[in-house]
Amino acid sequence: MTRPSDEQLHERWRDQPAPLLPLLHELHERDGYLSEEALRGVAKALRIPIAELFGTVTFYHHFAREPGGLEAPRVCTGPVCRLRGAGDLLDSLDGAVSMPCSGRCDEPVPVLRGSSTLVGLAADALESRPSPLPPAAPAGIEECIFAEMRTEGRAGLEGYRSSGGYDALKTAVLESTGPEVIRTITDSGLAGRGGAGFPTGRKWSAVADAAGDPKTIVCNADEGEPGCFKDRVIMDYDPHAVIEGMALAAFATGATRGFIYLRYEYPETEGILEAAIAEAEAAGLLGDGILGSDVDFKLYVRRGAGAYICGEETSLLNSLEGKHPFPRNRPPYPVTHGFEGLPTVVNNVETLAACAPILRNGPDWYRGLGRGDNAGTKIISLSGDVVRPGNYEIPLGLPLRELIDDWAGGAYEGRNVQAVTMAGISGGFLAGEDLDVDLDEASVRERGSMLGAGGIMVFDDSRDMIDVAHSAMEFFAHESCGKCFPCRIGTQRLTERLAGKAGPKELSDWLDEVRDLGETMKETSACGLGMAAPLISESLVKYFPERVAQHVTSVR
């Protein structure tokens, strides 16, 4: 293949929707870094002021600005990989740099090299492997999203259609109406699986009712939360379920274009999605006049470049639009002022993947999958010190202990669970008696935490919780966008205090600072990152006061 010129690349992307990220990626991959010359060309071609473009490029962790940068191995040093020797791996690989949790906690340690993911525990044992399938569900458990996923060939169109795939879309566009689709989704009780838990039917109906065209469906596949790797497995093994969910959302709301915003660290997934979209287009399931109806829906994949905050929906929209990815002030919300200021649905991968099965099997079926009053299922990405880490689709309301001990084989021989993180790390820790909690949003919130996107990392009694808390806070500090004072400075100060690098030596003063900082971050931060970060320090102090006292008085 000949090397495309800057001009050819500008020409290719200039008139495409959301062109900045794909154009930068092409240049990045062509040259192995983003040169000053290439960036000046992009600024001209897309009419972005050069200072602004430069600033925006520096926001993303994975855009290299020195020759050879893209080829440097990037080793995950996330909370689980650290326990599996990521530090040694980092030291033993030539020119390696670290990256935050890259979503492979069920099979550590991932290393990104160029555009591929390798995994392994030592430098000479790295290999490229398909991402792990979810472990089988215990007998008697009915799944929604994973029900067919383990079937060979499921990722292809034929495999997907063999068990009713695209039937829901067909019925919808040929026999049903938008409002009927929305009613079914509303009745099913489906709520956002990306973290915030907003009722999906209400979101779709707000977009359907909002004035302004064209409308957009965005699939949030940024999955940057440490300890979360569920969206990856859905996209890798069931891409058509996501596509069908997006097409249904488009039909229900009148949207005509869609984007899958995929996190940078899933390069293989991009190929899988692109192939599935091409298949669906060829079969008339996407594009103009879906299945002979008058419904149009064009779908694009856009790849992020390494920024956790770009999973926050308004930051994501700014990123798609080629702007500096600070979160926006809300209201107005994306349902009325989303992509390019027009009505937009932003939904998580898991939320969208649940839609087709719900429409096929009915809202009561989905509701019935939960325990007690809880509607439906939730995928939990379970990792850390458990015998069988992996993605588990649980009935909402399942006790945490049951998941860890019965489903995942419990702690290692001779060890006990000391603490778990919730919502990846955004829910802080649960420990002690609070480990006896049911996994549904209300029950977890009663314990001062969140279920959120469903990442749970287990730490057994051999782990130092100060160290765990420090690495979690360091992540938040690394990923804080810098827009608002409480989070920009607060995550830094909490990290320094957990590292023992700064802060009062008197325990009571230390606790006062950490508490005041936490209160102000929780109540005044401009987005969920700064609000969630202090749950780490707060729950650490709550469950491990002696260890905290020892930490404060022993340092320096």
């Binding site: 200072a51 600033g55 827009k483 004072f485 400075i489 600072e513 900082l517 929780k522 005044t524």
Partner: protein, 366 residues
């Protein structure tokens, strides 16, 4: 999706409650704007009324009934029936912590008041909220550019609190997009393209970023250089002499020396904006080459001091001689762009009626 805050103006009564008092508002106004009108003293650091509200400093938080967390009043639109509290123990506690935090990241809390128009904003708030406590100490943020070789703008980012007022004023007011935000989180840094110097960027040295900076991280190097000029600094409201726009300025003087220029934020023509000339080019005032009396060229070919009468006679004679020798259309008269409209009018009248030609122009026309 919002339960309590929408754009307002849905035809309902435009009244809301501010600290228990019923107040009116115009749909589209923010809670901050309404509170300002009713003389509430809400602290801010990222706010500049000329710019789009940003919502970064979070000092302007207020409590809104029905909302769990306080909201930033600068980015929240007033809505009918909204019940807002602008002062409470909880708000004061948060504001103080936020101020203690910014104090903890900077090298200096107090800067020379000659630094710029808003340069004392942070220090004033630190005093108002008793926030000079030394809590939350840790690493300091920002990398200064003491080596940026321009004569006008100090770039001392060790005193920067990342309010981005400079970046926003440059984009929104000046339209230059010369500076931007680099990196993220605590590593956030104000930058030009490729982290270079201002001279190599799109900067026009208008100085607006200096005047909006609330900490003196960006400062007026020329005004700061007047340190050794004795006397109190006095401000005199006047109009920039350079062009016909008529930007209002406050001249800073010590004794009879002009030591700097502050743009007038309430100037009707400029709202705090100036260009490089109005902001920095005042050295001519005391320059040795400046003309302070008419000069007339004598038979020896040299210029000699003269009276106005002599000088005007000499000029009139020269103009008449040109008309006599070459006809009235041999003259072409250009008015200075620094002349106000009235003077330009006089010029054309004089040329048309007095010299008899319509060959006139103005140097601002090009």
């Amino acid at each position: 999706m919002s339960d309590n805050i929408d754009g307002g103006g849905n035809g309902a009564l435009s009244t809301m409650t501010l600290d228990g008092e019923d107040v009116g508002f115009t749909p589209g106004e923010t809670v901050y704007e309404v509170s300002e009108r009713y003389r509430r003293e809400i602290p801010t650091l990222c706010y500049d009324e000329r710019l789009e509200p940003f919502g970064g400093c979070r000092l302007c938080i207020v409590e809104v009934e029905g909302s769990h967390n306080p909201v930033a009043s600068c980015t929240t639109k007033a809505a009918p029936g909204m019940k807002v509290t602008t002062k409470s123990g909880r708000l004061d506690m948060h504001r103080r912590v936020l101020l203690e935090l910014v104090a903890s990241e900077n090298r200096d809390l107090d800067v020379d008041p000659m630094s710029g128009y808003a340069s004392g904003e942070m220090a004033t708030l630190l005093d108002r909220y008793d926030a000079r406590t030394g809590r939350f100490l840790g690493m300091q943020s920002g990398t200064s550019h003491p080596d940026d070789p321009n004569p006008f703008i100090l770039r001392d980012y060790e005193n920067c609190i990342s309010c981005f007022r400079c970046v926003r004023v440059c984009a929104e007011q000046e339209g230059d997009y010369a500076i931007s935000v680099m990196n993220r989180g605590f590593g956030t840094q104000i930058t030009t393209e490729f982290d270079g110097i201002l001279k190599d960027s799109a900067c026009t040295f208008c100085g607006q970023c200096i005047q909006t900076c609330p900490t003196g991280a960006l400062a007026d190097l020329k005004a700061l250089a007047s340190k050794d000029v004795p006397g109190e600094t006095k401000l005199t409201r006047t109009i920039c002499p350079y062009c016909g726009v008529g930007c209002s300025v406050d001249l800073m003087t010590r004794g009879d020396q002009v030591v700097g220029v502050l743009p007038a934020m309430d100037g009707p023509a400029n709202h705090g904006a100036l260009c490089v000339k109005g902001q920095f080019a005042f050295d001519f005032i005391g320059h040795k080459d400046r003309l302070d009396t008419p000069l007339v060229r004598g038979d020896d070919g040299q210029l000699h001091p003269a009276t106005w009468d002599d000088a005007l006679d000499k000029a009139a004679a020269g103009l008449l001689a040109a008309v006599d020798n070459h006809g009235r259309h041999s003259l072409y008269v250009v008015a200075s762009g620094r002349a106000p409209t009235e003077a330009a009018y006089m010029m054309q009248k004089f040329v048309r009626a007095g010299l008899g030609t319509s060959y006139i122009d103005n140097c601002s026309r090009a």
